[in-house]
Subunit: 346 residues, 2 copies
């Protein structure tokens, strides 16, 4: 899922999203709640109509952003008091309000309101937080079953438990007992080493029903996505393809390249010779490099198109490989080719 934090997948038009075959995007409850505000979204008949996107939208619950972006948080059983990262004004979110907001946004898939623990986190703190998150999940579940059908979206529960397998197991089992439409693994990609991330997925996944979608939140690099799918995950959202594009970084089958670099100055090839996105069909690395160096908006637009196409095409290729029972081979070959994205390069 491309990430449309503020009612727009950064630099992209809805038409361009369709051209890269995006089938669903993510919208951020926290951001849209603060700006433009719910009265605006409601006035325009929901987020789909507001942003002219007629395909599905998954909305997060705001939990992650409250803990990662806002300041002066005060958590109680009831919910979270925090200050807006835009103007510092006092705000309050709790399970019922998060659900209400997501219903007003017109979400197709809503997420339960959760507390996202930081990395590292002591077992005791993670356990206490997890128990509250599970009570909050129940309140979200209770809220949605009371709604009239036209306001009732799908609802996913979020597994927490930091890096502790026993807590992940407890969380997964508690959520499955509440019977959600899908299950997400949250609290990953918060700074933990990759082996701990994989372990958090592995210790959750075994307890989830096979017939419900599994969503690894906020992930990841292309190789992480391949490895997550190998571990039974189905859905992903990630800002990397759009965020790195704005810095001149493009994804290819053989790792990332930064188009700002000098070797691309006279490079007449497209970003990726085997790619059939609109950027690669028309523009050279040399031209895109010039645009990025000259800080022209078209440069980051062209890379964003390519990067989203790369990600969406990756999951499409994996689906085909799975259908043809060639995924193990695909995984091995992809990981062997792919030089993992290194933050230090960027």
């Amino acid at each position: 899922m491309p990430v449309g934090t503020q009612g727009s997948v950064k630099a992209m038009s809805p038409e361009e999203l369709k051209n890269v075959d995006a089938q669903i995007i993510l919208g951020n409850t926290y951001h849209l709640f603060l700006r433009p505000g719910l009265d605006v979204i409601k006035h325009f008949g929901g987020l789909h109509r507001f942003m002219s996107w007629d395909y599905p939208i998954l909305t997060d619950s705001g939990g992650f952003q409250v803990f990662s972006l806002s300041k002066l948080r005060k958590i109680s059983e009831e919910g979270v008091h925090f200050s807006s990262h835009i103007d510092g004004s006092p705000c309050f979110l709790n399970p019922e309000i998060a659900m209400e907001i997501q219903a007003t946004l017109g979400s197709d898939i809503a997420m339960a309101f959760d507390e996202c623990t930081p990395y590292p986190c002591e077992w005791g703190d993670a356990a206490a937080s997890l128990e509250r998150t599970m009570r909050w999940a129940k309140r979200c579940r209770d809220w949605i079953v009371d709604q009239p059908p036209e306001r009732r979206s799908l609802l996913f529960g979020i597994i927490q438990g930091a890096t502790y397998s026993d807590l992940r197991e407890r969380s997964a089992q508690a959520l499955v007992a509440m019977d959600f439409d899908g299950y997400a693994v949250g609290g990953v990609s918060v700074g933990e080493p990759e082996p701990e991330m994989m372990l958090a997925i592995e210790s959750s996944e075994g307890f989830l029903p096979a017939n419900k979608p599994r969503y690894a939140m906020g992930l990841g690099t292309p190789s992480q996505i391949v490895e997550m799918i190998a571990r039974g995950m189905d859905m992903f959202d990630c800002v990397l393809p759009t965020r790195l594009a704005r810095n001149g970084t493009a994804f290819t089958e053989f790792g990332t390249i930064n188009l700002k670099n000098n070797p691309y100055r006279l490079d007449e090839r497209p970003i990726e010779e085997t790619c059939n996105c609109s950027t690669c069909r028309t523009f050279t690395r040399g031209y895109i490099r010039h645009l990025i160096k000259a800080e022209e908006i078209l440069g980051l637009r062209l890379i964003t198109i390519h990067n989203l196409h790369f990600y969406l095409n990756l999951t499409r290729r994996i689906r085909t490989a799975l259908e043809n029972e060639r995924f193990a081979e695909f995984r091995q070959q992809f990981i062997a080719n792919y030089v993992k994205y290194e933050p230090s390069e960027i």
Copy 2:
């Protein structure tokens, strides 16, 4: 002509330019000479191929930018020494080099290399500068007739003479005697009051042949364009539609509106209800306002599309009015409706 300073009309793709019916764009010799540099443009086979634009390109000569952007200028009969506005490195331009660069860019219409006088400017300084600019124009003319046909673009001369009618007349007559493919009025829109701008046009225009295009450089607001056409001008280039878009300002039949303003918050109308550009067919003022407030790139993209469509549609409507001999009526009505763009609003 939309302005593509650095090999890109800001925020627009070539396809979007075609969708707003742009038939020709302007490229900047000075900027492209400094970045990416001529070796890059040459390697890619010229500016058209570099930026994937297969319609005509007019290039300015670099004269205006040398005088408005660069520092440490030293002017002699031979040419101008200056330092790059990017890294301060020493550069040199003269008529022959400016022509050589434009030929390498693959310009369809090249401009003669000129000195652009500031406002205000003493008569004596303007006269001396003008004489040199006329000698430089002759050198450009001589250069181009020596070229093989495949390197020979059209070449326009540039009328200078600051705000002095006698100098404008002398300049126009000297250029016409050299027989250029078209004639531009330069040294306007450099800070002078609008009546002086109109006078500069009026005192040049009467001496130009009826069968050659006349180009008013760097102009203007919609009402200025209408008034310039009333004074016999045919061609324009202007950064206003793209530059103001980036600040949230949209052009309409009834003047400019700044979409950042609060009244547009819940406004479900398109920027202009009678407009059929892709922005107005799909998006509301309220959504675009949100995008601009949230600093989303899509916001300035959508306004840029509308603004360029507005300008190009304005000249299209004027052509139709001229063909139907209704221009006087069109002019009167347009000016009456149009609340002139006021810099203080922006």
